[in-house]
Amino acid sequence: MRRRLAGISLLGVLALTAAACGSGGGGGGGGGSTQAADSPVTITMWTRAATQTQSERLVQEYNKTHKNQVKLTVIPTDNYQPRIAAAAGAKQLPDVFAADVIFVPNYTSQGLFMDITDRVNALPYKAGLAPSHMKLGTLDGKMYTLPHTLDLSVWFWNKDLYEKAGLDPEQGPKTLKEFAQHATTIQEKLGKDGKVHGTFFGGNCGGCYVFTFWPSVWAAGGQVMNAEGTQSLNDQPAMTDVFKIYRDLYEKKVTGPTTKEEQGPTWTGFFPKGEIGVMPMPSTTLGLMPKDVKIGVTPIAGPDGGESTFVGGDSIGISSTSKNADAAWEFLSWTVSDQAQVEVMAKNKDVLARTDLASNKYSAEDPRVVLINSLVAKGQTPFALRFGQTFNDPQGPWLRYAREAVFGDVSKLPQLNAEITKSLQQ
């Protein structure tokens, strides 16, 4: 049972290590470099499992073509934030680390990233860097991160299932109401043996809700928070209308049977198996889909139309405690170079971190990629300093709110929405 002590003793160890490492630290600073000019340097990098494939490709290509090397560590997505927090407390952060873009404002405000304003300003293609990622990586006029990977939420539909259900396989849904109709038709026509379902979503996963439901709100012209990220607007009709449609789908058993219990790690696993008719998916999974599943991609719409997306993914920065700032910057600036963006990212159907390269020799080969690239400008990345603890944390107030809205008691929503606002302001 001693293992159970881990959680509590971790704090003690954390404190001990922090003390042993001495005081100081603090955020920012230009970051000196201690490496000798000619000797190769190995820098350490962390990334989360959700965007592992893209990071691995970039690191492999960099290591193949450069003298300096990058040692990449992939950490399970759910444990990423705690690992960063523990490492920061112990001043054991790697030289560079990628982070879910929505957590970046919190990390910069805690002083975890090094100020790279001057270095970014010197980049010739600075204006082309993905604007939402750059916005969230800027604090008090100083820049701390570069866009690393872009992961957009879009609707995927299974063309084979559409055909079998008598729907037009070349026409995806154009409104959320149409999405619900398509899903219902597939469930009614093909769902009798329990293997195929109309749609699916992560019903016990706060991050899944924001990634897949909020674009429908934005497409309808609504907002989910005020611009400062300090007040929840999730009790407004734009959001409640979206909840109603998903609630109806759940009550009619159009969603997979484990929708309500899905905690997140496996929510994208059902679609590639050909078991789901139409559902919101991360754009990064497009390149990983089996060749034999015919997939259509369309923007997420509001109840009556419009288009939007959650511009997610990772930003990357140099940790404020790194001793290899120059080598780290060499790698970071290479990842957003023409060569890396086109020959590594675009070649593998990934969304580019630079808008000026959206049209390239690979993107034209697949109209779905062109569509996804075009959504970067229409989508949003919500800003809130307390995003993680409010919306992603399983014990945070948002998950309670969303679950009551879709599966539970809607009379509790006003009070729970007030708790979301309270958490955003803490």
Binding site: M1, R3, R4, L5, A6, G7, I8, S9, L10, L11, G12, V13, L14, A15, L16, A19, S23, G25, G26, G27, Q81, P82, A85, A86, A88, G89, K91, N106, Q110, G111, L112, N204, G256, P257, T258, K260, E261, Q263, T266, F270, S320, T321, G388, Q389, D393, P394, Q395, G396, R400, R403, G408, Q426
Partner: protein, 304 residues
């Protein structure tokens, strides 16, 4: 150095000891020093630091600022922690009773040396060798409604009509977790009880039998009273471990559904690593530590 002799001939307490005594005292300190250093660095220093942390606003990087007693006064405003206290106490009570009963039952089953008994002892203990996180994942996989083998098995045997929401409702999530914990720890606790059972002299049993005691009388009048110190040890381990429950809920239920299985340590973890409120987490840790020390002292006195 002068030595004052009192009327009774005894050396007064305040007088300096002879050089030989002093060198023996220094030697004693030297012998104890390695242990003292280990205890100081590994046990006392982290505790002092956690207490110091709990009196400060402690950011991830940068300087801490003294804010006592804010971290402590805010505990009552944390409804998640208040709920977690009640949940953890409920979980501890149920787990301890069931675990003790199952472990004692297993220990009695494999108490006597018979052919093949080693196999059963090993089989019962085997889950104890599985890491808690691995055990959580194992149960998550087995009980998963999509790909777990348990539901299809129950349905093919005609016991259930549709998949059971093993972690989908608060009561089932608690039940499933307790099953996991019993599976994981019953064998370990059985081993503790087995050593206690085997320490009871066989002569006592023989005497009881020759006096005409039946099996129940032997169990209640001899086995249980003589097993008391071992049972006390098991109870203390079980209660302390259950109050510090973390892995099983973190990996298996993730605190859900709807925060119904959030333990106290999970709240501490959340405060530290999701809310980055290290000072607040340290305050919660100190409160839990004090409560545990108090409870263990009480149990030691009662059960000794």
């Amino acid at each position: 150095m002068t030595l004052t002799i009192t009327r009774s001939g005894r050396r007064p307490a305040h007088s300096a000891p002879p050089a030989r005594w002093r060198s023996r005292k220094v030697q004693g300190w030297l012998y104890a020093a390695p242990t003292a250093v280990i205890v100081g660095v590994l046990f006392i220093a982290p505790l002092v630091l956690v207490v110091w942390m709990s009196l400060n606003r402690w950011p991830l990087l940068g300087q801490a600022t003294f804010n006592a007693p804010e971290n402590y006064t805010k505990i009552a405003d944390n409804p998640l922690f208040v709920d977690a206290v009640f949940f953890t106490l409920k979980y501890t009570a149920i787990t301890t009773v069931l675990l003790s009963a199952v472990a004692l039952g297993l220990a009695l089953l494999v108490q006597d040396r018979k052919p093949g008994i080693g196999f059963f002892r090993t089989a019962f203990f085997l889950p104890g060798a599985v890491g808690f996180a691995a055990a959580g994942l194992l149960f998550y996989g087995m009980l998963n409604n999509d790909f777990g083998p348990i539901d299809p098995m129950l349905q093919s045997l005609g016991i259930t009509d549709e998949p059971i929401k093993w972690i989908g409702t608060p009561n089932m999530a608690l039940f499933s977790t307790i099953t996991l914990v019993i599976w994981r720890f019953a064998g370990f606790n059985m081993l503790i009880l087995l050593t206690g059972l085997q320490a009871i002299p066989t002569e006592v049993y023989e005497a009881a039998r020759s006096d005409g005691a039946n099996r129940w009388q032997v169990f209640t009048k001899i086995t249980l009273p003589l097993l008391r110190p071992t049972l006390a040890l098991m109870l203390i381990l079980s209660v302390t471990g259950s109050l510090l429950a973390f892995d099983q809920f973190f990996v298996f239920t993730n605190g859900g559904p709807d925060n119904s299985t959030v333990s106290m340590v999970m709240v501490i973890y959340r405060e530290a690593f999701f809310r980055f409120n290290l000072g607040g987490a340290a305050a919660l840790s100190v409160v839990l530590l004090v409560a545990l020390v108090g409870l263990n002292t009480l149990m030691m006195r009662r059960l000794r």
